[in-house]
Symmetry: C2
């Protein structure tokens, strides 16, 4: 989609992304267990709105529209109607037009697109947040909740861990079609953890034992955990993204909006085009391709007049290690079946040709589902503005892209940003 | 909100709205009980998309954006990610940009607004649907699911039927402040059922025993059913909207979109402005006012340059009888505390000064939560185009409005439509 009115990312904020293995996460082995609780979904929403306003210096009375991306608040937190949770954060948001969108793991991306669309009309400043809490129930119960992003009636039964199994199915198809092993895919995992170890917001920032050797095959700390015997061997713990709690927020605005806020375009990045594609639940055409992502990526390339050769940074959905490999191919970074080469040869490392998921991606930065799509846009912005600290790229990128995926490549949202 | 690009409602479709007391609804006393099931959420989504395409004659390949309003698919149907359910209906929707929005009972209204916003950009034709299934669990379980539209952490405990109790609280405040009784409010209920009895899509179309006398006080078939003793006396069964399954779809388009589809503007209604306001969950300021609805209504009046005196038809949220009375006041149809007069004097009857909820409203047309906001827009369109059959107004309205509310007046969406 081309834009009629240019849209700029002003800035934003992350909470820490936390969960098991994060030092702040309260669980039975934490010294504060029983003394305090992990933050609630409401806490995350309130915190991220105020952090975003503070980080950008934006007067909330100037906000013309707000969208929140969240997948499963009704399940993990007994709470829907989250647009109306937003004014709890700040009195100035009362009577504002605020709403929640839901597209599984692409909820954050959809929140951004709905906000961009609002800026095509009479709105000039939008608040986009994503927030998710997933650690309030057991992993097994959580897996059942998350399965509502698949075609539940036909796919839930694949495995008690439905989504890992859906992607083990892709991994099996990929491995068998292209003759690759876990060792070939392990560099993608190792990159994620190496990047996250430099990122203070990352869920896995202190996890240093997951490296290429660890991720190359089964070991006692890295089991194949599925029950489904057809797919079990094809997915290890290290292939998976994290069950994280967290939130990210950004402010986006038109030129008129920037003028009202007194913000110079040079402090911003521009969203030059987006892609958004949806495919039917339960009807994957080819397990070795992300054809829905390809459609969204190609739409964004077409409408921006740019191609993969122009991209200097990328945030792509790596819900599982094979997803990132398939994303390389969908982007056109490598040919079909050649995705593992881009990981092996360093192309997607922080100092590579096209750095991908510089903060650690879903695998190691973490994956609070509804936040991820917003996080991706903010991470591209931060790399462009030199805000990434220890994981800052050596060369400031001029153009970058995000690819945020819901379910088994059933919804994909792509944005292309340009540095100003 | 004013629109930069004019937006037209082309047409649409309803499924029947069904549930307890509807002759097609399968429950233990239905002759087909055990032989067949009620339609699923997927059935409703697939059906309404195809009915909408058929009713409007729109080629689905021309659709540039689609939004679906749904409140609680993840709970009642174990299914989220409903944007990706839409392409199951029609192959031509594959790779289209489709997504779900959620704002409790205003989910349908938000689906319409997000689509209108998309038409402010480069999109020209949008599909807007709302669908909900709520009859898949017991009434008690359902009440817990629906409580996720309130501030669950603080409001759930009010009563096992949380939402009826929230509005019993408003009824009590209204009755005590203004000295009115159930008998004063009963004409609103009687109007809803009288209108629905003429509406073949209505959930309560065959229920003829609910009239003004019935709704005026407790009787064996019309109990005060809450457990909360503070509020019990203030809400009867007849004050409540229905737990319905159902779906509605519409097509909206820009002038360019109409040209592509070969549809003349004269067949359409125009959406001239909208209002959208949100207030913090759990923080109602005055139980005797819908201040959030007032904010959205006043925004729409301001941005359309119209007032209540211009309105010829209205669809307003009547989740409970008192809500409709409060809506009359929020619209400015009557002064504060005078809403019951508009019901008593016939002003809002089909042949009155400002007919409201001509098809029976949420109380008797039914309230499949996510569909309601879309239904309201389509109903205003249908009255303007003379499509309402036995409940067609005697005078064709030139201007009309919708007011769709989420939760306890925490999200309100208002649209103003003009006949062409």
């Amino acid at each position: 989609m081309k834009l009629r009115r240019p849209v700029y990312v002003v800035g934003g904020a992350h909470t820490n992304y936390i969960g098991k293995f994060h030092p702040d996460f309260i669980w039975k082995k934490h010294p504060d267990f029983g003394k305090r609780q992990n933050p609630t979904l409401e806490d995350y929403i309130v915190t991220i709105i105020n952090k975003t306003l503070e980080a950008t210096g934006v007067d909330p009375s100037l906000i013309d529209k707000g969208y929140l991306g969240n997948f499963a608040g009704q399940l993990f937190s007994n709470q829907g109607h989250l647009g109306a949770m937003m004014p709890i954060a700040h009195e100035a948001l009362g009577y504002k037009p605020l709403a929640r969108v839901e597209a599984a793991c692409a909820s954050g991306g959809i929140a951004a697109l709905a906000s961009i669309d609002a800026l095509q009309g009479m709105a000039d400043v939008a608040l986009v947040i994503g927030a998710e809490v997933q650690t309030s129930v057991s992993a097994r119960q959580g897996a059942d909740f998350l399965a509502r992003a698949s075609h539940y009636a036909t796919e839930r039964e694949l495995d008690e861990f439905t989504f890992p199994c859906l992607f083990a199915r892709r991994m099996k198809a990929y491995q068998e079609t292209h003759g690759v092993s876990h060792a070939d895919i392990a560099p993608v995992v190792a990159k994620a953890y190496a990047n996250a170890n430099k990122n203070p917001n990352a869920h896995m920032r202190t996890v240093t034992w997951i490296d290429e050797a660890f991720a190359s095959g089964v070991n006692p700390k890295n089991p194949a955990f599925l029950r489904n015997e057809d797919y079990r061997d094809h997915l290890l713990i290290s292939d998976c993204s994290q069950v994280s709690d967290g939130a990210t927020g950004i402010i986006i605005a038109t030129e008129e909006g920037l003028a009202k806020m007194g913000i110079d375009k040079s402090a911003c990045t521009e969203i030059v085009a987006y892609g958004h594609s949806t495919s039917a639940l339960g009807q994957v055409k080819d397990f070795t391709r992300l054809d829905n992502a390809e459609a969204a990526i190609n739409e964004a390339y077409r409408d921006s007049g740019l191609s993969v050769a122009d991209m200097g940074v990328g945030e792509v959905h790596d819900c599982f290690s094979v997803t990132e490999v398939l994303m390389y191919e969908a982007l056109g970074l490598t040919g079909y079946g050649k995705g593992t080469e881009a990981a092996k040869d360093g192309s997607t490392q922080i100092d590579g040709r096209l750095p991908i998921n510089t903060g650690g991606g879903l695998m190691a930065f973490g994956h609070p589902v509804g936040a991820t799509g917003v996080k991706q846009i903010f991470e591209v912005h931060r790399q462009m503005k030199g805000q990434c600290g220890d994981y800052q790229m050596p060369t400031t990128p001029g153009v970058g892209l995000t690819a945020n995926m819901g379910g088994d490549d059933r919804t994909t949202v792509v944005t292309i940003q340009r540095n100003t």
